[in-house]
Each structure stands twice: as structure tokens, then as C-alpha cells.
Amino acid sequence: MEYLVVFPDPPSADLARTLDLSGYRWKAVSSPDEAIEHEPGGGWAGAVVTVEQNAESAWAFCRSLRRRDASSCRILLLISGAELGQLELRDDIFDDFCLTPFHPRELEARLRHLTYSEGPVTRADMVEYGGLSLNLETYQATFEGRALDLTYMEYELLKFLAQNPGKVFTREILLSRVWGYEYYGGARTVDVHIRRLRAKLGEEHANLIQTVRSVGYRFGQSRWGV
């Protein structure tokens, strides 16, 4: 899953929420130095920079990212209509922008497009999250080194969730994406399989898959208690 760097720290509540719900892992920083300090092994997959009153520091942040590694870290600006003029002659230090106040779906779509060429940071045949590791080649699942014996549908469900950590899915979406066919259990099948997965993960890790009240399920942590 992509790691995004977000400037400045703290980001607006709307931004943090949108990133969480879209399943991004992200880190907010307040200076270029902090961005270097926290940079993950594979580098930042993208940056979300909000241009507000502190416009100058935002531009400085973008330039610093650009200098460090040409253009591998794609930069998206959040900018209000009144500030649009500032983009002039700065085309070299950003890749895309989104007007504030932004629509969460638009931002999500732009981010997806922005980071598209990066591809997933994890190796293609492995999905890893926390202590969980799924080998897509051999279908083997382990948790903290211990083999998890899953049935096919449990495996498929866990794979789908682990590939989209932090993202909230409704039961219908899970049923259509994971099962995709008529099953005796109907939509309740999802709940049943979630319980079975939790039972197999063990009591102390059961909260890896969280129930999001009156919505559905989320795998892994979100910063927002939704």
C-alpha cells in the first residue's frame, strides 16, 4: 500500500478522514527535514501539500521533495480558488492539484491516478500488513510467523481486506467482490466469515478486522474512530 507524505502537520480533519477512508497509509510532517527523517524504505509514493496562508513554506516543501528525487514522488496540491494564480510558473514542482474545499471522491480519484504508475509498494505476490503475510503465489497465510489454516473463501476475504487496509467496505461490496455468486448464506455470509477469520486470528488479534457500525468492515487501523 502506498505511503503518502502530508504537509503541513496537522492536516485538516477532512483531509485526514478522506485519506483514511481511501485506505492510504500516510504521515503528516511540518518540514522537509521531517519528510526525509520519516521516509519509508521504498520512498514516498506521493505527497499531498496544502497551500494556505503558509504558501511560501508549502512551495519550499515541494521544491525540496523535487530536488531529492527528480519526480518519483508525485505531488498533489490542495489549493483554494483564490490562490490559483500562484500555480503560474510553478508547473515543475507539482503534478496535479485539487481545489479546496475538495470533494472527497474527487480527491480519492486524483490520488489513485497520481500514484497509479507507482504500483503497489509490496512485492506483487505478497500482501503484508502488521504481522499478517499472505503469499498470493502459494496461497499461504501466516500471522506472526504462525501458519493460518484458512478455507478458500476465508483466504479470499482476508486477501481482499488486507490489500485495502484502512478502507471501509459494506457487506454488499465484500459479497460482490469476494464471492460474486449466489451463496446459501446471502449477505450474512460476510459476517459469518469475518467471525471465522477473527476466531482463527485468535482473540488478541481479532480486532485486526473491525466492525464499522452500520456500515461494514475495515481491516487494520484508521486514525478516525469511524
Partner: protein
């Protein structure tokens, strides 16, 4: 085979390979609810998944037919599980099978296929059927023929002492069940000495019937590994309560609980009421299936928390159906609890007849009789007949007599199982009837 089936098959084969599985146990169930199994090597697994494994059906009770004895066991790849208690020398796995005729039509003597057929009918009507059982059983010292079973402890309800070996057995059982993907809701020490209860979380009925089969095996295996005998016999000890398997039933329509109605004083929808009415009207004729042994009827007597009367109520544990009040009024938890079945039943057949009876009520719009909230054990026959409350059959013989005339049970089970079950159980009754019991000798030998 469709794409999903191919992926599932591939998954099973890769898992068997990666986990070093040495033996794959093909599981199925006979008409009486006994788990049957034969083992194949992983090398045969691919072929088994694709074409099934042929075996001689006449070696299994109730599978035999006059002309063709061979049947096919086709594994259901979605039930492939590594067995957690396997021999350290080699990992073993199990997979439930559907039994087919050689021409690949479903075999009429296979209880799993019978349940699938009944569930298909529910799906056609727009419903998925969910079941959660509360299963009671006893732990005894290894049985000695001719002696009364010896309980492991004399503990009461919710007792917990460090020396309680039964409690640690139960905990180990629960851990094993959870590893096998069977989530447990509650468990506790029951009223009777050495009696325990484990409640499973609800699932769709087919998965639950498989889970009950696995459950009975796990309970026995864990106990046997510690030199203890676990039994699901309905009434192993005279004078204390027997073992029941209360079934919490609900119907779902898509994501919503078809039994829930926010506006009803009981929070029960018209569907729930008609389903209950169906169960009540057909309760007597399906009892031979839900309570299939001579011994089952020694549990269904007044005074031991087992139902005797065909009635329903919200919080009356003397009736056949209880409507539990869901925690925090959660609509998803709305359900009814059918209290007569015992854990010696065949879950595939029991779920089939219960579903058929309930759905008949829904289809034909049966009227639900009034709630019976009195303690029915304290009412005399006149009072009961005034309330038009009838009793459950008093013996296996009575139950068979009622079942024999039931077109509902015949349809639900199919002719093959219906006929075989009646024949087999009549012969059980004959065997029992010709016994001269200690009760008779004590009572009559000297005085007559």
C-alpha cells in the same frame, strides 16, 4: 466447472501441498447422523475434487440400494480444513463431501444433499436460513458395560474450580473449534454433574450442520485424548436433566432479518409468526427426526427444563419455542429458540424438517396461537386442553407413528431417507420394547 470452482480447487491443492498434508479425510454423514470418513492420499486429491471418489455405498447404513451400490463422494472444496489434532508424523486435512450417484445426480440417501435441497427451496422464496445451536453434553469416566455412568465432578451451574478437569477440557475444545473456524458464543458448566454447554455463533444452516458434525467429533477427540468419555446421549443419568440442543433459528432476506419488525410489541414480523405457527402445527410429526432415539423421550419429561408441551412464549422455558429478547434490541439478533431437539439428532435432517415446517407456515399464512406464558408444568390436562395446547410425542413409537403420516416430512426428507428412517427406527423400538427392564423386575417380580 466454473472459474470460482477452479480457483477453489487450486487453492485446496496448493494448501495440501504447502502444508505437507499426508492424508485427506473425506467426510460425509449417514442417515442416523454418524460421521463417516475414508482417507485418500494427497496424490488422489486432484482427481477426487474433479471426478469424485467411488465407494461402495452398501457398506454404509441407509446408503444401500438393491441394484447399484456404488456412489460418488465429491468433496466440497470450501470445507477443506487442516485437522488441528493430527498425528505429529503427518498433517491431516478433512473435507466434507456431497454424495452423488454415478450419473452425477444427487444421491437421495445423503443427508447433506437433502439439506441443500431444502435450503434451495428457501432461497427460491427469497430466504437464507440461519441456525445457532446450544449444545449440551456430559463428560464421564470411560464407560464400563452395565454400570451407571460416572460423572467427573459434582459441580453446579457456573462453578469454576481450579481442579475442574472438565473445565480445562472444555477450554481446549473451544480453542480447537476456533482454529477450525467454528466461533463459540458462550460456554459453561450446566446444572447436572459433569454436564457442559457450548453455544455456537449463528451461520447459514449448511455450514452449521457441518459445524455440528465437526463439533461432536472435536468434543469426543479432546476428551478421549485425556482418557475421558464425552457423550451426546440425550438422557444418560436418571433424575438429572438431559442434554438438549436448543436451536436458535432465523430467516434473512438479503441483509435484513426477516423475523424483525420494529413496530410489533414482540418485535416479531408476520414472517416470524407464521414460521413459528408452522413449527407449532408440525412439531409433533417432525419430532422423530429431531429426537431420534428411544432415550430422547426420557429427556422430554416435566421437571428437567426440557419442553413437553407444544407452545411458545417470550420468557417461558417450559414451552417448545422461546422468543429471546435480543441484546440492546439488535434487529440482527431477532430469532426464535426451538427447544426440543437433542444433540444425538442428525443436524442435516433436523434443520431440513424445521425449515420445511416453518416455511409451510409462511407460505400458507398460518395463524400463530396465543402465547402460553404460564408454567405449563403446573397446569393439569383440563387447563391445557382449554388452551388447546398439545404435548410432544411421549415415545419414539408415538413419534414414528406421527411421522409416518406426515407428507411434510416425507417431502422434506425425500422417499429414500423417509422410508429407511422409519424402518430403522421401528426396528430400534421393537428391540427396546422386548426388553425386560430392572424397573419391571423391581416392581413386579415379588408382588405379582
Amino acid at each position: 466447472m466454473n472459474e470460482m470452482g477452479e480457483q477453489q480447487r487450486d487453492y485446496v491443492l496448493r494448501t495440501a501441498d504447502e502444508r505437507g498434508v499426508r492424508l485427506v479425510r473425506l467426510w460425509f454423514t449417514d442417515i442416523l447422523g454418524n460421521l463417516k470418513s475414508f482417507a485418500i492420499s494427497p496424490a488422489e486429491l486432484e482427481n477426487a475434487l474433479e471426478d469424485g471418489m467411488t465407494f461402495d455405498g452398501s457398506s454404509i447404513d441407509g446408503f444401500s440400494r438393491v441394484q447399484e451400490a456404488d456412489v460418488l463422494a465429491i468433496p466440497d472444496p470450501n470445507t477443506f480444513e487442516i485437522l488441528p489434532w493430527a498425528d505429529p508424523k503427518g498433517t491431516e486435512a478433512r473435507v466434507f463431501c456431497n454424495i452423488h450417484n454415478l450419473d452425477s445426480t444427487p444421491f437421495e440417501g445423503d443427508p447433506r444433499q437433502v439439506l441443500k435441497r431444502n435450503l434451495d427451496a428457501a432461497v427460491k422464496a427469497g430466504y437464507s436460513f440461519y441456525v445457532a445451536p446450544d449444545i449440551e453434553y456430559f463428560y464421564f469416566a470411560p464407560p464400563v458395560p452395565g454400570e451407571t455412568p460416572k460423572p467427573l465432578d459434582e459441580g453446579g451451574f457456573f462453578d469454576l474450580t481450579t481442579s475442574d478437569i472438565a473445565t480445562s477440557l472444555r477450554k481446549e475444545t473451544i480453542r480447537t473449534l476456533e482454529t477450525m473456524g467454528i466461533p463459540v458464543e458462550y460456554s459453561f458448566h450446566e446444572d447436572a454433574p459433569s454436564q457442559h454447554e457450548i453455544d455456537l455463533r449463528h451461520t447459514d444452516a449448511l455450514t452449521m450442520a457441518d459445524s455440528v458434525m465437526t463439533f461432536r467429533l472435536v468434543v469426543r477427540e479432546v476428551a478421549a485424548a485425556h482418557g475421558v468419555h464425552a457423550t451426546f446421549m440425550p438422557k444418560p443419568l436418571e433424575g438429572v436433566q438431559g442434554s438438549g440442543m436448543h436451536l436458535h433459528l432465523s430467516l434473512f432476506k438479503g441483509e435484513s432479518n426477516a423475523f424483525y419488525d420494529a413496530d410489533d410489541p414482540y418485535n416479531l414480523s408476520p414472517t416470524a409468526k407464521a414460521f413459528m405457527a408452522g413449527l407449532i402445527r408440525h412439531a409433533a410429526e417432525i419430532t422423530a427426526v429431531t429426537n431420534q432415539t428411544v432415550n430422547s423421550y426420557k429427556r422430554l419429561v416435566p421437571g428437567f427444563e426440557a419442553p413437553v408441551h407444544i407452545s411458545w412464549a417470550r420468557n417461558n422455558r417450559s414451552g417448545l419455542i422461546r422468543v429471546p429478547v435480543p441484546k440492546k434490541g439488535n434487529p440482527m439478533a431477532t430469532r426464535i429458540e426451538y427447544r426440543s431437539p437433542d444433540p444425538a439428532t442428525n443436524p442435516y435432517l433436523a434443520f431440513s424438517v424445521l425449515l420445511a415446517a416453518g416455511l409451510r407456515g409462511v407460505e400458507q399464512g398460518y395463524e400463530l396461537p396465543a402465547e402460553a406464558d404460564d408454567n405449563l408444568f403446573e397446569l393439569d390436562n383440563t387447563a391445557l386442553s382449554k388452551l388447546s395446547i398439545e404435548q410432544l410425542p411421549q415415545s419414539l413409537s408415538d413419534a414414528l407413528h406421527l411421522m409416518e403420516r406426515s407428507e411434510l416430512v416425507q417431502n422434506a426428507l425425500g422417499d429414500h431417507i423417509f422410508e429407511w428412517f422409519l424402518r430403522n427406527k421401528r426396528s430400534e423400538w421393537r428391540g427396546y420394547k422386548t426388553q425386560v427392564t430392572p424397573f419391571e423386575l423391581d416392581r413386579y417380580l415379588r408382588s405379582l
